[in-house]
């Protein structure tokens, strides 16, 4: 008799995993059918390994016809996916043309009104989340047939598990770090939700999409709970979540235990999977088995599967997977912090109890770090070691370690910014700035007492020297419009909730109007409001009306329109309503009466894309003009069409040509004068000149689709914004790309004022941003003489500058009028030194021709030749009391004159090749000189007697740069040994050494507070150092050639540099600082909660002054 065959499940598990071997094996040996089944199973499995990912990635065919207008305000395009929760469609937001994803939940997804209300509340919270790694929710509501929906940002990406499998490098350290970088971003996104009070509850790979740029985004916040509680959708009683990623407390149905740590667990499962390619425990069993595993099976250590997995990584994974929520990371923020620390080579908190461990990590970090950081950290580690050995003051030890951590974070952020990772760098810097208690609006910003504050302040200043973002503020919703005030002093913006605000240039809110709360959320499109929000055009129940948005009263209409229009707008002045009808015709109605004013296009023109350009007073429409597509445009005031039609030639192959190219032409724009027309074409821009309507030029500047185009009011600029977040400014008529930068987010609205050099941009994340156009607007460039300058000086009142160079002439420059007052033909050869007398009444010059002369800077006339026939002069310094003038130069001579009698004082001399620099101390008691010979150390004399006091011993190569601190207590010297040394001016003993300079230093200058030291030299950047903490603060490149001259205005607010370049740079530090101020309030707002709630180390309070 034939025995029964084992069930398919048993056979497959036997085939693939050898489970249940003994009993099955016997049967299979006798049963050909089962043998075949087993062979098939194995072949199937191999096949699916290759085929399943490809099938998943392919777009599923739509399974039911889509009603494109099922959700008001969106046009549904195609079905993306369908699952237990409902259906997701790709859609376009009608008013903005933004791509969107609309998730339609199952009809009757809520058991009760209470559940619905909770769902709505959670979605509302989720909609307020703004984080680069969280998908932005636009709105939610209900379709006319009662189905709830959520509309959100569309992400073109793949689930994280597939991304990890297909796109990351081969297993090894590189892959591990790539995985951790991904999870750092994901955990930061989840952390943002946690600090807003939203728990995801259903994190799994399909809810984390990674886009083409490798940026992960978390989907569906706020959606898990209502679905899970829905009796029909919930398969498993109280169970919420997806079994394979569910935490033990979810299986236990312990609602009270579900919290932020539940999300941490799911992240842990995914991280485990991404690192090892396996699940932490078998996931194929029944739900009960899964629950048992989750509750009691310890995951095998990941290092078992990944060779040489760093133990910190294993610690992070296993801590996230702890069975007891209390033993996991408290929230995604703490998890992100540990991942971040691991990635930057810092000790992680998961194992922070042992000081030896902290030291191990810190010491390890040194080996791979730049020399500057190395020395800084060695010093700190030295301190930590010492303290650890003493073990007497744990608090101190902790603080030292924290300082090291923060220092290295700032350092990391600076490196990131230099590498172009601007967004992350900015957030990191602001986080540290706020933790350190930096206040950008305080007058001592940049020169704070506290060293950590100085460090992070200059990190920010350096950052904004790269990014001309003068101001950024945040609104509650995606920005609908922005505008720059006439004089450029204020920026106004409104968002899609109907809220509006006006901000000053330093980011302070001046006035605002609240969001409109009268109408349902999905009608809040301000392009359907007059600018005073007194009138609103709505379509409902088959007719168009003008209503008062506050009372809801009908002001005009109803005007019956049987099929819902594709789109309609109200002009800002409320004068017109433009309707793009369902049949693609376009007409203009009176904004007060809804009477028809003009039909612009009939249905035959097939209007395909249109834009109302209120700022330009124009309207542009892409339509068909067989056999091509064209852009036609109208003036809004007269409703007359501009004469030219910009056409685009048919695209090639097979298809209906006009329809094909019309499909591709997006966001048409026309300049106010009607001369220029532009449209997006994928990632490129087509621009037409009215003179050549059939010959558009193609502009390439974006790496992804162009989503916004605007002309400046004077039509001299075109601004384009891409989905890649980049913004380009093009010049007209040249069509040159003038500026390009990343905004970090997609722009939706823009206003450009070419006369003021300002561009305001509003984006999808709710940021209104003001950019300054032009090359480094905080810099004023004055023309330099031919072949550049060698010497530069400023008068004590800060109003007059003087410089001289190769050509032997001196320029006297007035800082107020920004004009050269005199060009003095002063010497026969290169001018190597200039300086002012303390009263500013005399300008001294020294040259390699061996002469020293005195000039009247007001008249530009020679007062006297002090000496001729010296060896080449290389340095000059006037004593603070004005009684002495010292000179130094070739052969190591140093001499001084009495400025009343012009008698020479005793020659000093330092047996060197050359004296490149000398200086009197601020009280005039000391004279110091440096030497361009490696074996001759800088010397300090008693300035009155000429007696040598001491030498500054330590530099190993020639020393060229020299400065006294403003209080006279210290001397700074800079040498080709790439160090700056700080000496005690009374004793000559070395106080500290700043190492790892990027340049041979030529000139040094102290800020008046003595807390900042500026340096220029062989490389084209300006180095900014902290002479008290002994570290580099910033490096800002401005020049291209060597920089020989450096002067700081007496108030410390204007820095002047010059050298081989053909310009002298006047740096307005206030202007540069204003960028930090203009961006401050937004970060203070954004990070305040974050820092208060998620600071595992308890360092949220600023430290007191540490000097």
């Amino acid at each position: 008799m034939r025995e029964p065959c084992p069930p398919p499940a048993t056979l497959e598990l036997f085939a693939l995993r050898g489970e249940g071997a003994a009993a099955v094996e016997d049967h299979v040996a006798r049963c050909p059918a089962c043998r075949e089944y087993i062979d098939d199973a194995r072949e199937n499995e191999a096949f699916l390994g290759r085929a399943a990912p490809a099938i998943l990635e392919a777009k599923p065919a739509p399974r039911e016809p889509i009603d494109p207008h099922a959700v008001e305000g969106f046009e549904l395009v195609e079905e993306i996916s369908r699952g237990g929760q409902g259906v997701v469609y790709r859609a376009v937001q009608a008013a903005t043309h933004r791509p969107a994803a609309v998730k339609m939940l199952l009809a009757g997804a809520f058991a009760s009104d209470r559940q619905r209300r909770r769902f709505e509340r959670e979605v509302e919270i989720a909609a307020r989340l703004r984080h680069p790694n969280v998908v932005t929710v636009f709105e939610s509501g209900q379709t006319p047939d009662g189905r709830p929906f959520v509309a959100m940002e569309f992400v073109n990406g793949v689930p994280i598990d597939r991304y990890v499998r297909d796109r990351l490098p081969e297993p090894g350290r590189e892959r591990t770090d790539a995985v951790l970088r991904l999870f750092l971003a994901i955990a930061s996104g989840v952390a943002a939700a946690h600090s807003a009070g939203v728990i995801h509850r259903d994190l799994k790979p399909s809810n984390i999409l990674v886009d083409a740029d490798g940026v992960p985004r978390v989907l569906d916040f706020g959606l898990a709970r209502p679905i899970a509680n829905h009796p029909e959708a919930s398969l498993t009683h109280e169970f919420a979540g997806t079994p394979a990623y569910a935490a033990p407390e979810q299986f236990a149905g312990d609602g009270a235990a579900i919290g932020t740590a539940t999300d941490v667990y799911a992240l842990g499962v995914m991280l485990y999977n991404a690192l090892t390619g396996r699940h932490p425990y078998p996931r194929d069993g029944s739900l009960a088995e899964l629950a048992r595993h989750a509750a009691s099976t310890d995951p095998p250590p990941p290092s078992r599967f990944v060779r040489r997995l760093p133990s910190d990584v294993e610690t992070i994974v296993l801590k996230s997977l702890a069975k007891d929520p209390a033993r996991r990371y408290r929230s995604a923020g703490s998890m992100a912090a540990d991942i971040g620390d691991y990635l930057s080579g810092l000790p992680i908190s998961a194992r922070r109890d042992s000081p030896a461990y902290v030291l191990h990590r810190l010491a390890k970090r040194h080996r791979g770090t730049a020399a500057a950081a190395l020395v800084v950290l060695l010093t700190i580690v030295g301190a930590v070691v010492g303290l650890a050995l003493l073990a007497s003051d744990l608090d101190h030890e902790r603080r030292a370690a924290l300082d090291a951590l923060r220092d290295s974070r700032i350092h990391r952020a600076r490196l990131m910014a230099a590498a172009g990772e601007l967004d992350q760098a900015e957030e990191l810097l602001w986080r540290e700035a706020l933790l350190a208690g930096v206040r950008a609006h305080d007058p001592d910003f940049g020169v704070e007492q506290n060293a950590l504050q100085r460090r992070v302040s200059w990190g920010l200043i350096e950052y904004y020297s790269r990014v001309p973002r003068a101001m950024r503020v945040r609104m509650g919703g995606a920005i609908d419009w922005v505008t720059i005030a006439e004089d450029g002093s204020e920026v106004g913006a409104g968002d899609v909730t109907g809220a509006s605000g006006v901000w000053s240039r330093d980011g302070r809110l001046l006035r605002s109007t609240p969001p409109l709360r009268v109408l349902p959320l999905n009608n809040h499109l301000t392009s359907q409001y007059s600018s005073d929000y007194a009138r609103h055009v709505r379509y409902a129940d088959g007719s168009l009306r003008i209503v008062d948005p506050r009372s809801g009263a009908t002001l005009a209409g109803p005007l019956a329109i049987e099929r819902p229009p594709r789109q309609f707008w109200m002009t800002r002045d409320g004068g017109y309503v433009v309707v793009w009808d369902n049949d693609r015709s376009v007409r203009v109605l009176d904004g007060r009466t809804l009477d028809e004013r003009r039909v612009l296009l009939g249905p035959e023109a097939m209007a395909f894309n249109m834009r109302l350009l209120d700022g330009q007073g124009t309207l542009a429409i892409v339509c068909v003009a067989p056999p091509a597509a064209c852009v036609r445009s109208w003036r809004l005031d007269t409703l007359l069409e501009f004469p030219f039609r910009a056409t685009y030639p048919p695209a090639p192959i097979g298809l209906d040509a006009a329809a094909n190219s019309i499909n591709s032409l997006t966001i048409p724009a026309v300049s106010a004068d009607g001369r220029w027309c532009a449209a997006g074409y994928g990632g490129s821009i087509l621009v037409w000149d009215a003179a050549l309507p059939n010959e558009p030029s193609v502009l390439l500047g974006h790496s992804a689709s162009v989503v916004h185009l605007t002309f400046s009011a004077d039509a001299s600029r075109l601004i384009s914004v891409g989905t890649d977040g980049s913004t380009c400014v093009w010049g007209l008529p040249s069509r040159d790309l003038l500026h390009r930068w990343s905004n970090g987010s997609r722009g939706l609205a823009a206003d450009i004022r070419t006369d003021l050099g300002l561009l305001a941009l509003g984006d999808i994340r709710g940021f209104a941003t003001l950019y300054e156009l032009g090359d480094r607007p905080w810099l004023h460039a004055a023309p330099a003489p031919p072949m550049g300058i060698m010497a530069l000086a400023v008068s004590r009142d800060g109003r007059t500058y003087a410089w001289g160079g190769q050509a032997g002439s001196i320029t006297v420059y007035d800082a107020d009028s920004k004009r050269a007052m005199h060009e003095i033909d002063a010497h026969d050869a290169l001018i190597s030194a200039v300086c002012f007398s303390p009263d500013g009444g005399t300008l001294y010059s020294g040259s390699v021709d061996g002469a020293v002369r005195a000039w009247n800077p007001a008249t530009g006339t020679l007062e006297r030749t002090i000496f001729e026939g010296l060896p080449a002069v290389w340095a000059l310094s006037a004593s603070p009391d004005g009684r002495s003038l010292a000179a130094g130069g070739l052969g190591g001579f140093v001499c001084a004159w009495d400025t009343t009698t012009w008698e020479a004082r005793p020659f000093l001399g330092i047996e060197s090749i050359r004296v490149p620099n000398l200086a009197f101390s601020p009280d005039g008691a000391l004279l110091a000189a440096v030497s361009a010979h490696p074996d001759v150390q800088p010397c300090v004399w008693n300035a009155r007697t000429g007696d040598p006091l001491f030498r500054l011993r330590g530099h190993t190569r020639e020393v060229r740069a020299l400065a006294f601190s403003p209080d006279g207590a210290t001397i700074a010297t800079g040498s080709d040994d790439l160090t700056i040394r700080i000496w005690d001016a009374q004793t000559g003993s070395l106080l500290r050494t700043i190492t790892g300079l990027a340049r041979d230093p030529f000139e040094l200058a102290f800020d008046p507070t003595g807390r900042i030291l500026y340096c220029v030299g062989r490389s084209p950047g300006l180095g900014v150092y902290d002479p008290i903490a002994g570290i580099e603060l910033a490096s800002i490149a401005v020049h291209e050639g060597l920089v020989f001259g450096l002067a700081l205005s007496p108030d410390g607010r204007t820095l002047v540099t010059g050298g081989e370049d053909d310009f002298i740079a006047f740096w307005s530090l206030d202007h540069l600082f204003s960028y930090v101020r203009g961006n401050a309030s937004r970060w203070e707002e954004q990070l305040a909660d974050d820092l208060a709630h998620d600071d595992p180390r308890g360092v949220g309070t600023p430290r007191g002054p540490n000097e």
Binding site: P7, P8, A9, L11, E12, Y37, D40, A41, E43, N44, F47, L48, R50, A51, A52, P53, A54, I55, L56, E57, A58, A61, G84, N156, A212, L235, T236, P243, A244, R283, D284, G285, S286, L287, L290, G420, A651, P652, I653, G654, G682, G683, L699, L700, G701, S703, A704, S705, T723, D724, L737, H739, R740, W741
Partner: protein
């Protein structure tokens, strides 16, 4: 036969009015070209643009008689065209590049391009096979759904069973039978593609 052989498709292209051949060719190779360009590091939009330009260039070359079958495989031709279009786009970007933006990397060499192409072609075949399975299979909706969940999406069998309202064994059975059928479809499609490429 599920689908026309590549040879027949290409022959159809000789007649510019043969819209069916053109759309068949387009449907077959556009997804491969897009995926190919995406693998070279282009964004989706750019990849779509590259696919569009490549197909247009192929059509032009074909009509002008520049494509002769004996001179090489169709795939090499398409790869060559796509590579040129892609390089052109990169150059265009380079000319307008400003500041410190990272550039796309170098173009991979010939064997690597061929490898990427055949991977993407295989993926396209898998996807097409799945569509054919859906439209031709006799299995009912819940069996198909269980197959998709368990075999394709990797959902645990118990979960798939619960969602589709069938037994766990039925889920395993669905996987076994439908995977086998899918393999057959892939085999047929691969033959049809290969013939003429």
């Amino acid at each position: 036969m599920l689908t026309r052989t590549t040879t027949r498709l290409i022959e159809g292209l000789r007649d510019p009015a043969n819209a069916e051949a053109w759309s068949g060719f387009d449907a077959r190779y556009r997804p491969v070209l897009i995926a190919f360009a995406a693998r070279l590091g282009f964004s989706h939009d750019d990849a779509a643009e590259i696919a569009q330009q490549s197909l247009a260039e192929f059509a032009r070359a074909y009509r002008e008689g520049r494509y002769e079958r004996e001179r090489g495989r169709l795939s090499s031709w398409l790869i060559g065209i796509a590579r040129n279009v892609a390089s052109g786009m990169r150059r265009g970007r380079g000319a307008h590049r400003v500041g410190g933006d990272t550039m796309l990397g170098e173009m991979p060499d010939e064997p690597e391009l061929t490898r990427i192409w055949s991977q993407e072609r295989e993926r396209a075949i898998f996807a097409e096979a799945m569509t054919i399975l859906h439209t031709t299979s006799q299995a009912n909706e819940s069996t198909l759904r269980a197959f998709e969940l368990f075999a394709i999406r990797g959902v645990p069998a118990e979960e798939a069973a619960a969602e589709c309202g069938i037994s766990v064994d039925a889920v395993y059975l669905a996987k076994s039978r439908l995977t086998k059928r899918l393999r057959e479809i892939v085999r047929e499609l691969t033959t049809a593609y290969d013939e003429g490429e």
